[in-house]
């Protein structure tokens, strides 16, 4: 399996007054193709720091990030921006859709910015897969939360990035919708051989992940087994099988 994004010996320090706070302890991380990786952790634990360094939105204090085997974190802001546009897809909490563009135009925007041709076949494929075909001429505010997130996934996949960052993609959805969205995300990750990194508060969504990492106080560690947490969890697992079948 091909490693798509790697973090090697990354740390991140912040200055708070005169004190140096180490928000991210030395971290090594690899995401391979076709992997859906879940990241969990309490707020303030360094989740955002981890994700933003991975996405090239801020520079690590030490260490480096490789994207598709090439150096990424060392590049200047402009180059990183360009690479993000081409190689990373974002699905964000409040959805990454632009309010005044129809779903179809959200995809076309990428072509306008990169001055490339609209890939009509691929767009239609995506719309079909994600069941948003009927929504393509609607504006985001005319859609339900689930429809919006499905469209956001379509947008994240449209430019065929190698890595997808999903930041709380299910935060605004009810349980069934949330399952549906994460299931789709898992399916597309496998089919298109992407590496998807999903930050979530929602333990129930980790069912679909190939690996789960926990960040606590700036330390990233892989959760090796899904520990039996409580009753709710078991109940949810039944729900999952119901949705899956």
């Amino acid at each position: 399996m091909k490693p798509l994004i790697e973090m090697i010996g990354v740390t991140k320090d912040f200055l708070q007054g005169d004190n140096v706070i180490r928000a991210l302890k030395e971290t090594n991380f690899i995401a391979y193709e076709s992997e859906l990786i879940g990241i969990v952790g309490p707020s303030g634990s360094g989740k955002s720091t981890f994700l933003t360094i991975l996405g090239g939105l801020q520079k690590p204090t030490t260490g480096r990030v490789l994207l598709n085997g090439k150096p990424f974190s060392e590049l200047d802001i402009k180059e990183k921006s360009k690479i993000r546009l081409e190689s990373i897809g974002f699905i964000l909490q409040a959805s990454n859709l632009i309010p005044f563009l129809t779903i179809k135009e959200q995809m076309v925007l990428y072509n306008k910015i990169t001055k490339s041709k609209v890939n009509q076949t691929w767009m239609n494929d995506l719309f079909q897969k994600l069941d948003v075909e009927k929504l393509k001429d609607k504006y985001p505010n005319e859609l339900s939360g689930g429809e919006r997130q499905r469209s956001a996934i379509a947008k994240a996949l449209y430019h065929q990035p190698s890595v997808i960052f999903a930041d709380e993609p299910t935060a605004s959805l009810d349980t069934n919708r949330a399952y549906e969205v994460v299931k789709l995300l898992a399916k597309e990750t496998k089919e298109q051989k992407k590496a998807t990194i999903m930050v979530t508060h929602d333990e129930r969504m980790l069912e679909f992940c190939d690996k789960v990492y926990v960040i606590v106080d700036g330390v990233l560690s892989e959760r090796t087994s899904v520990e039996p947490n409580n009753q709710t969890k078991t109940m949810n697992r039944e729900n999952v099988s119901a949705v899956r079948s």
Partner: protein, 356 residues
Amino acid sequence: MFLAFKELKYSKTKFALIIAVVILISYLVYFLTSLANGLASSYTNAIEQWDSNQIVLTLDANDNMMMSYMGQDAYDGTEIKGSKAKLGLFPAVINNPLAENILDSRVDAYFFGIDNDSFIKPSEFSELTLTGNKVIVDEEIKKEGYKIGDFFGVTGSTQQYEIIGFSSKTTYQTAPVIFMSLEAWQTYRYGSTNTPDLFSGIIVRGEINNLPSSLISYTTEDYISTLPGYTAQVLTFSIMIIFLILITAFVLGIFIYVLTIQKTSMFGVMKAQGISNGYIGASVIIQTFLLVAFGIFVGLALTSLTGMFLSDVIPFAVNIMFYSIITTAFFLFAFFGGLFSVNAVLKIDPLKAIGG
């Protein structure tokens, strides 16, 4: 372009309101400009027709041509390279002797006494001869119902004058000009047929080489600025127009800035996705330009429409050069207004788009 257009299309009401403000202000600016220009040209139309370089008056007339008297010796003593013409200038109130109420038919005018072969005579009437009381009058007089061959009288005199032609764009200090022979002018000016051979000034096309010491020369521009009220009026209008353009730039700048600030989080998400500052900034600037272009276009259309209906009533004159300068100024200042917002876009931190 894509983003800018789509947003205009999506938020029609919001942008329509902004465009409405631009329309109103640009309409006001263009209208005021036409009015100022019309008023200024009604002061100077007759002078512009001379196409002169210098104007010679007596020193003791203190810039006032009506108080300047000179004779043939002054004319001969003024040595020039080019051509020169005598001009007698005096205000008059004309009336229509056939009118039911003569008082109602009074019109302010300026009598220009000139030699028949003078370059001051409107060129389209070169075949007409100014002799006796035959006169050429500005077409403004037409509005009073006069036709060619009609006679008019003048306050303070028993003379009557026959209209033999109507000239266009010959107003002086907003009043119509009446061209007549120097002899007829002197008869009016001195109230007798046995008059001294005097006139008011010398109009020079070319350069003055030598001037008698009792005379003084002005460039045509300097002479125009001595006309009572002319400079003050032009200055007032200019300042109003400049301020209106500045205000438009500010208003537009503030609108765009507020809209940009409203979209901070959206721009943050876009930047996180790798959409460059350049693309977002360009889209903000393009949007500003589109708003200005729409507003100005409608403002100009309204101005020309107003001009068509009102040009008989008010001094309304279209000047393409002024319009171009103002339009350029609008775009330039709106661009500066938009730059504030671009600066705001640059400062948006894409980090805030992810997590919290």
